[in-house]
Point group: C5
Chain length 358, copies 5
């Protein structure tokens, strides 16, 4: 539906919103650096990709279809077709995350990016390009690095959210046997698995980009791809921390269910143990035998009732002493992973100012 194009020509000036003809010219000049960003790709945009850039039909289909494709690099010799995934912010903390897809064509002097939903990370880069030519000056391979880096960085707020949910469910699991808690945990686990499945294949992809397999990625840029790789390792690390919290929460929840059952049973056991014997005693003195000497004694009624009262009080004291009523102590401090681990993410700065070959 919308095509944005930026061309840094040889003179260092930036042209925007190029026509198809201008794009073709820029492309064939082999000079400068052209970035075309397409969002909500339809047939018209597909035709542009086919006519101007002459990309392979299958790659174009991957852009036009709304279907999701696995992360991959297809090498068409004169250009690379790269599919990477980011994570969409979940609208609410209780919902599981969804993946967002970004397709990129990396050529000698151009980058075409394509996405069917608006991407915050791409918008940010557009603003950078509009304010300064610098991001385009570093070459096409470095520009692709910037696109991927921004996409991966945007995963962090989602992880932050998931860490909060993880702490939440760990605490809930301790105090409730409400099935909704179990469901929150399972939803969190689903998010963890999606992050895992989205990020792990990209590690391999960035490994390939950083080890010199593709001629279009220059030696001096590879170390930057390696940096994203390290970042992905960190994300997976954090993600596994969250998974562990979720697994722990399931165990805690199930054991809380069992404990709660025990509490219920204790109530019954205490009541039964106290009142069944006393009821028998009352029953005994309710029997109608003719010769029951106690019945005539003056104080026996008071003695019996007093005995009963003291048994009740004594038993309650005894059970309390044995800790049957003691509410389960809440642990003083629940060590969530977030306090410390979130630090891991602090201090990471946007990479736009980095110089290739520094």
């Amino acid at each position: 539906m919308s095509v944005n194009s930026y061309y840094l020509d040889e003179s260092g000036a930036i042209q925007t919103n190029l026509s198809a003809a201008q794009m073709t010219e820029a492309l064939h000049s082999g000079k400068g650096m052209l970035w075309v960003d397409i969002s909500e790709t339809g047939e018209a945009e597909g035709a542009l990709l086919a006519d101007v850039f002459q990309f392979h039909r299958l790659a174009i289909e991957d852009c036009v279809e709304s279907q999701i494709h696995p992360p991959k690099i297809d090498d068409y010799e004169s250009y690379l077709f790269i599919v990477v995934h980011g994570i969409n912010h979940a609208a609410e903390a209780t919902e599981s995350v969804e993946t967002a897809e970004l397709e990129m064509f990396l050529g000698a002097n151009y980058v075409v990016s394509n996405h069917n939903f608006p991407l915050y990370s791409v918008d940010e880069l557009k603003r950078l390009v509009e304010s300064s030519a610098r991001p385009l000056q570093r070459g096409a391979d470095f520009f692709v690095y910037m696109l991927i880096d921004a996409l991966v960085d945007n995963v962090l707020p989602t992880l932050d959210l998931m860490i909060d949910v993880a702490e939440d469910v760990e605490e809930q699991a301790l105090t409730t046997s409400n099935p909704a808690t179990l469901q929150s945990i399972q939803r969190l686990k689903r998010s963890v698995r999606r992050v895992h499945r989205t990020m792990v294949p990209q590690r391999e992809l960035l490994n390939r980009l950083s080890r010199g397999e593709f001629a279009l990625v220059r030696q001096q840029t590879r170390v930057f791809y390696r940096d994203i790789y390290d970042h992905l390792v960190l994300i997976e690390d954090l993600n596994m921390d969250i998974r562990e919290s979720a697994d722990n929460a399931v165990t805690t929840y199930l054991s809380a269910v069992a404990n709660r059952q025990n509490e219920t049973m204790k109530v019954l056991a205490v009541v039964g143990a106290i009142f069944l014997p006393l009821t028998l005693l009352a029953g005994v003195y309710g029997m109608n035998f003719e010769y029951m000497p106690e019945l005539q004694w003056r104080h026996s009624y008071f003695v019996v009732v007093g005995f009963m009262a003291s048994v009740i009080v004594g038993a309650l004291l005894l059970f309390r002493k044995r800790g049957w009523f003691k509410p389960q102590p809440l642990p003083v401090h629940i060590l969530g992973p977030s306090a410390v681990r979130k630090d891991k993410l602090r201090g990471h700065v946007p990479d736009a100012d980095r110089q290739p070959g520094a």
Copy 2:
């Protein structure tokens, strides 16, 4: 039982229902493109494969036997013998899926396909060929791609069905401890495992077809096999989502059984805690002691009965307040994987119109 043959000769005309002699001639001409489809293969068809095509005895046996064979590619130099598996629609949503087998011989200018049960995807291709010569114009390797692609595409409706069952059992598991639910879940897990075991080895198979291992698969066709590969990755992805739903449903079911037990116990505990003490009280005033001053008091009976009534009412209110009767709240919205994930499949179009080497 039935042999269908189509021959696109050099003139561009299509001949159908060729005799064995015509097939032999077409084969030896080395020109045009011959497709022979055999279903419900018996001894007669086996003889055809041996006499006309001179395939290896073992490959022919694999076609004639109704036994299932693992997905594989056997390279007999002048032709490839390829076995792939699809998924049969289960007759009912509650049954587990079954695999369907398709054997193919890929030669320089011919394709022989063989299957012991009618395959919807093959029928579709027959209709295409009968209406237009185009599918046959793209060469034998591309035709095999079309056969496999149609087979794999037909897996999607089954996955859709499984997603529905997954949502169903997740919801059921929450509200019932009926063992039939557990069985539905286990049947779903069995389906998931079969899809997994059917699809994963084919990924390797398509990887081999797409990376230039076989001379009979031309460079320009390989990228199409790669496309099926990506498709299989997606199917497995979806399949793992279903598996996770099934695993979650088991946990939910087991915890629902435990919760239900707790409910039962609560009923008993409440009844016991209220009535056992009161029964003792009634028992006490049923004792036959001679000197029990309360017995003569005018209003003591009403006082006692009133006290009992207020204890019963008060206790019920107390237990309600402590949430013992609160029905477990159904979570507002159960996030199934289907709503969003089914989108993944949307927009995938039949591949018959694709051009090799586009």
Copy 3:
């Protein structure tokens, strides 16, 4: 204890029960095809292997020892020493399976097979050889294929038996909490694991035999070894189906134990909920207060007893309506893996009539 030998000489005649001298001569002629089968190997047979065939001391020890050895191929250049495992029919369906070992020496024009227990598959081959020279005409490498193929085929009846046991325990687990059921399941799992551990290493072994690693296995025979490989894949597939059934049965059993507990508790809860309140009522009218107006009323006894009766009947109806007594419905149809999957095995025919290089 017993040595059987068959020699197909150059004239095409078959000699049996050769002396050691005749064996040596046949061996050194480099012509024809000699098969020596040894069972219940002792020191004498060991000496034969050492003197006539001059096999390596370690290989001979592997034959003489009753100890079990892992499946392997040892390449002694002029001959291969191959150890493969089959499965012994378990005497009873409830016992776990045991493995049977077959050692083979494959030379240029001879095969020596060795086993410490009678093997049904070897006996079958002896009968074939005694009735016709054909099995020996296809060369030593093809003869080893026939030995392994017959051994692997004999695994199928055992798998059939295990499928029956799997269906049995799945059904039992649903209806009983008898620990014997749990034990049957665990015994089945042990069998599954043994089949797994016996068959999976042989897959690798047959892979090596079929990919041209050994000069003694001719090109034209390799595809037959590949066929056994496919067969082993199928067996493992079936075996994993059985394992899944067993795993499901454990879950079902454990949840049946929990459900049964719930049933017990319900009985108690129903009885308590009905009779404890009524007992209090009876107790109230058994109190000895002087002023209890109802006591003098003419019909109060009948009213009270009638009320009690109607409470009992009403409560029972209510509990029934809430499904507390509803016997857990047996699922209409338990989908066992056998009905369909056993078909997989149908139609497999003995391989003795196959022609190498067909």
Copy 4:
């Protein structure tokens, strides 16, 4: 915030606290051995790394950021950038461990170490260097070995602590169903996983350092890196022992919860089984039938009460005999992993006195 520098010049003298100019000179002389240690790295230190050593921008960023980076070796040809992780002592035994990061630059005649928190192992090495020139005499690659070795050695006290916690929770799990125990176990498991995730990637890293991949690591030093590798294998071994203890403790805890529930139920069952029948008996003799012969018998009251008393006593004796009250015997000796396994660590001595190429 603080930079410590030591330079062993050609004359064998040690200079400390070098200026930037002196460092540059030492560096370019290609002689002697320079060690610069930076802690709490800020912008000023980053500038030093860029200006004097001219390290790559990305490597410097890794030093300046407080973010955690995965263990890695980046080969910048004229120097290696190595990131390794140690374990920080947890402040309290009940908290989970945290990782500490150490970055090192290994050049031909210099080592730069960088860490954002004070590291005990680096301080120790500073004291060694201040007291003797020997550690600096063995070359840069050996010095890096000393830094890593000291870091890894400092993991052992933490493991010791974890072993103590493991023994503790195993014992607690046996005797309590307090949820705090479950939380301690889960915290321990988290520590185990962190040690695992910190140490296992470093094994690969040290493997690379020890097998001759980097020219900057001399042949004679490699075997020392191999020694750290062996050490890491041992740490992981011990760590897995702790994990097993934790896993066992979870099982023990959950089964203790179930057992405790059973205890509660037994109390109720015993009370019910004894008093319900006797209460019926008392109720029977409390009935008001006119003709109940026992009522007039002289001793029947005493007989009934005596019978009741003997039933109560008899039942209690019977239940005791059947072991219902028997407290669960504490196992005589709980075999923790520590007693023996801690020996594994004994006898390891600081490596400072080792001679390269001994």
Copy 5:
């Protein structure tokens, strides 16, 4: 503390207890075969290793330290340093096993073995060498094979013991919910894991020794190392059988705990279901209504009591019929893995008489 040395000189005579000078001479002669065995290695022995044999400092440290080292082969070109592990007999069946370490130096014409605890397998070999020169005549590489083979063989009695414990706990788990049973199982699992972790890395080690990686191991000896490899496969096989028994025992134990709970509940349910209704009946006839016709009937007391008695008897019969009291039948035959599997180990004979290159 003690050094034993044996030297087979060129004349075929055996010298024992050589001085350091004699050892040096033997070493440098390059002839004959020298075996030095050191136990309880201290500084003095370390010096011997350094001075006479000039081994690398790190290898000597590995010998002197009492710390455990992972199994490994360090190739120092003129000699190999090999660390292997055996299993120490546990003092009692209920304790978990411990590993024993043996270090060996394999040179061209000498073997140095080192161990910090007395090893039964080494003692055995000493006795063989003292009685005959044959073990030393086959070369250093064959001698190392004999040392490892004896060490591995000594694992079998420990496995036998573990099989006995496995059978024991499987049976116990069936009949008791005593936590001590759970602990025995967990101790067994720990032993299984230690055997696993000790033996599996050695498989790789022996694989390397048997495939021609080291020049010091001659072609003809490699097949013997391969034989130990097969042996280790078998041990792991057996070990996994034991692990499965232990896993089964945990499941059995946990389900026994649940079943036991059910038994307790049944007692209560039966008592409640019988006596609560009857107590109500007695209560009804204990009510004090003036007009209760049954009270005056002559036989009503006997009818009521008779009715109660028949209800009690009838209910007990009914419950018995429904199997509530049926003691859980002990399975007729518990198939332990030992009966058959122990056969696997039978018939293995000491390898001292084997001839290399037979």
